[in-house]
């Protein structure tokens, strides 16, 4: 087949796929599905046995993370991160509220997009999971020993924290770039002065290699484009970070038209090791800021501190630290292959997938092959950096992951498919439809130095007719394909919580053995913990009444509380004295304006309650703990 014919066929195929979408076909679409029995067998995980992988899916606009077993698609946990969660009192309890503090006050919701597993030597190590909050710029760290949010750091001089929180190969830094440029520092200016007054920042959050603790090391002030996604270099490109940009037009209205005019936008290539050196040499300026750093302390109580300045690097003062690589048509994803040589850009409006070469980039920098500059940032010549282009891949290329066997898998939003192509030859090998409108895609370890492979999962934006209808609002969908053979085979389709924007997966063996079963009561450092039932008590301090309460199957101590007055404020410090796996107790009290508490064995959690009028009000255990669970109750008597 000659090339022209090939292109024509590929284009026709893409349009056919798009057409099918528009006409709402494909409800019974079994194209690319492995034989039904075969598919069922390959995702079947027998009752009582475990999945091979943990999959960590972002909840998108739910602000949370959900954990699935793969390949079965079993939902294992929903982990609250940026949103309050009535199910266990996260963001409501006195111990967790501070995690949601920001410079705007208490912000109990965010839009969580990109989970990132911590890594050592470029490979996921199963210690932590990082995820970004887009709306009020934040980065969270989840501890995979407890599957809970341990820390959230706010980003100053940022808006729309989308190019985040991508990690360097040894989790040295979390990368974060601003989707929205804004006046930096913030000020009251006309929006049509965008080109003069609006800037972006690229942030580098340092991660403590032992504790995982985050601190904002420095920011780079960059022109007011939209910084969309990022990935760190690895192997030979270790020490570099790449950010995609769009709106290099610097439009501030009707971006769908005005930010799509340039044939090429840019990838920003940042030599972060050099940036680190410039900071150490004192080239960074200190810029006033006000942002929060929230973390669980050793008593498992969230502390919130305010930080008032940040180090900022200006590209003009820092030669050879940052370059722009021209890249076609509003690139979205920027993905580095396992060898660290190829940088794949997903030009969402482009007709090709451009692949840049790291070694060619280094040479172009050495040879000063520049095509002008933007605000002191040299622009490299496209042809000098380009390794190749995947021709006619489909419509709307977004993101690319890798199988570690020399193949790349790119999601195509408009033509709603996954395209498998070969690194080096840039030839399309296979394509499989996604139902519908795939955004990110994920291969276990598929963004790492050594992918675990086996499956690719499509994370879709539109569900339509895939499942039984549930009114106008539908769950999003994910699809799991086998990639062990030459052709992708669709094995499983499952609904997800919120928007499964992006996901990461890791062999269960790297996580499960570190999973905490309960907290040893002797090590409970909560200042209001009690270690035995005879320490249970009610302590009044003016109008504040603290109840030091214990739980064990199947009673509270104390269970009846009198002497409370209208106008008092009560704090129930509930310590669960159980020392066994999977025996949480709940605490709920009538009329509480917050939520329940779910208290893990050996843990202390606190619920605030304000009696509003005289009477006797029950409280009870909400988590069915034993046959006498219904007996686990008590009363608070409130007097005038």
């Amino acid at each position: 087949m000659n090339i022209r014919l090939k292109q024509a066929v590929a284009i026709t195929a893409s349009w056919l796929a798009a057409l099918m979408l528009l006409t709402g076909c494909g409800g019974n679409g079994r194209d690319g599905v492995a034989g039904t029995g075969d598919a069922a067998q390959r995702v079947y995980v027998a009752p009582g046995t475990h999945d091979e992988f943990y999959g960590f899916f972002s909840g998108g606009f739910s602000g949370q993370v959900s954990v699935y077993g793969l390949p079965s698609g079993r939902l294992l946990r929903h982990i609250p991160v940026f949103s309050q969660y009535g199910e266990n009192g996260y963001g409501y309890s006195e111990e967790t509220r501070n995690l949601l503090m920001t410079s705007f006050g208490f912000v109990p919701w965010d839009d969580a997009h990109h989970p990132q597993l911590s890594r050592t030597d470029g490979v996921p190590d199963g210690r932590w999971l990082f995820i970004n909050g887009n709306n009020t710029p934040r980065v969270a760290r989840l501890d995979l020993a407890t599957f809970e949010t341990a820390e959230i750091i706010e980003l100053p001089h940022s808006a729309g924290n989308h190019a985040s929180p991508f990690l360097t190969p040894n989790t040295e830094y979390v990368l974060a770039g601003t989707r929205f440029s804004v006046p930096i520092p913030q000020q009251d200016v006309p929006i049509d002065t965008y080109k003069d007054n609006f800037k972006g920042t690229l942030s580098f959050i340092r991660v403590d290699s032992i504790t995982g603790g985050m601190s904002l090391a420095f920011q780079i002030l960059v022109p007011g484009f939209n910084y969309d996604l990022s990935h760190a270099g690895k192997g030979p490109s270790h020490g570099w970070a790449f950010f995609s940009t769009y709106n290099s037009e610097q439009a501030h209205t009707l971006l769908e038209v005005n930010a799509s005019r340039n044939d090429k936008d840019y990838l920003a290539a940042v030599n972060w090791k050099l940036a680190e050196k410039y900071v150490a040499e004192g080239r960074a300026k200190s810029l006033p800021a006000s942002y929060r750093h929230n973390f669980l302390d050793e008593a498992r109580i969230a502390k919130s501190e305010v930080i008032r300045s940040v180090k900022i690097l200006h590209p003009r003062d820092c030669p050879d630290m940052i370059f722009y690589i021209p890249t076609p048509k509003s690139p979205h994803g920027v993905d580095v292959d396992p060898t660290g040589e190829y940088i794949v850009a997903g030009g969402k409006l482009a007709t090709v997938i451009p692949v840049h070469s790291f070694s060619r980039m280094v040479k172009a920098i050495e040879d000063r092959e520049f095509d002008g500059e933007v605000n002191g940032i040299p622009v490299l010549k496209y042809e000098s950096v380009l390794a190749g282009e995947v021709q006619n891949p489909g419509l709307g290329p977004l993101h690319t992951e890798f199988d570690g066997k020399g193949y790349a898998y790119t999601s195509m939003f408009i033509s709603s498919e996954i395209v498998k192509w070969q690194l080096g030859t840039w030839e399309v090998i296979d394509r499989a439809p996604a139902y519908y409108s795939i955004g990110h895609l994920m291969i276990p370890g598929g963004d790492s130095r050594a992918p675990f492979g086996k499956y690719v999962i499509a994370l879709n934006k539109i569900t339509k007719d895939r499942y039984l209808p549930t009114g106008p609002e539908l769950a999003h969908s994910a699809q799991l394909y086998d990639i062990t053979g030459d052709r992708m085979k669709l094995l499983l389709d499952f609904p997800t919580l919120g928007e499964p924007h992006y996901a990461q997966a890791i062999p269960a063996s790297l996580v499960k053995d570190r999973s905490v079963r309960y907290f040893p009561i002797a090590e409970n450092k909560h200042p209001h913990a009690i270690k035995a039932e005879n320490q249970a008590r009610v302590v009044r301090d003016g109008n504040l009444v603290r109840v030091y309460m214990s739980t064990i199957r199947t009673h509270f101590a104390p269970d009846n509380i009198e002497g409370i007055k209208v106008g008092d404020s009560m704090l129930f410090h509930v310590t669960n004295l159980e020392q066994d796996w999977d025996v949480p107790h709940g605490f709920a009290i009538m009329g509480a304006n917050n939520a329940e508490l779910l208290v893990m064995p050996g843990e202390t959690r606190t619920l605030a309650w304000k009696p509003q009028f005289a009477g006797v009000f029950p409280f009870y255990c909400t988590d069915f703990c034993s046959a006498l669970h219904q007996e686990m109750q008590g009363y608070v008597r409130v007097s005038n």
Binding site: E562, L577, L628
Partner: protein
């Protein structure tokens, strides 16, 4: 129990095991942990196991006389880990414990503390208690050494007269009322 009686019990239990092995058609290899659990699952117990429980204690222990040091330690552990559910002299979440060392052998008491889950799920006497109290005994992470201290505390309490509920070791102090 006299030394003679102990020997006799040991001999009896050995016979019972041999008999069981005969019944299940196993070779003369010592029973593995998995085989033993499978046997318990089938409701087959040696007479020693019926009397002394199932768990880490599989043979008679020589009890020293009650040590005051261990009693003091045992009391602290009792208050932190046992008093949540037990009074000595009355029913609480679980049964009263004042005379437990008179009703059951020390080996049984230790197995109950150290292997509460299997005692409750498999042992005939343990199952009866679970049915009666509608509750499995909670696992509190008690070590063997702690269990020996608890045993001495319970031995020391066995001969004392009963006390009112609010004076039970580790009893919660009722909060003040209006």
């Amino acid at each position: 129990m006299s030394v003679f009686m102990k020997r006799l019990t040991q001999a009896a239990s050995l016979t019972a095991i041999l008999l069981l092995i005969g019944l299940t058609g196993c070779s003369s290899e010592p029973e593995t942990e998995a085989e033993r659990e499978a046997r318990w699952q089938q409701g087959k117990f040696t007479s020693w196991e019926l009397e002394h429980g199932i768990g880490p204690i599989t043979e008679a222990i020589e009890l020293a006389s009650v040590s005051q040091e261990r009693v003091a330690k045992g009391e602290n552990i009792y208050i932190a880990k046992c008093a949540t559910c037990h009074y000595l002299d009355d029913r609480k979440t679980g049964p009263p414990l004042r005379d437990i060392t008179k009703r059951r052998s020390p080996e049984y008491v230790l197995n109950q503390i150290l292997n509460a889950e299997q005692m409750g799920k498999l042992h005939p006497d343990g199952r009866k208690l679970v049915a009666q109290y509608a509750q499995y005994m909670t696992i509190q992470g008690v070590t063997r050494e702690d269990a020996m201290a608890l045993l001495d505390f319970l031995r020391a309490e066995a001969d004392k007269p009963p006390v009112p509920i609010d004076q039970q070791p580790g009893a919660a102090v009722p909060p003040p009322s209006n």
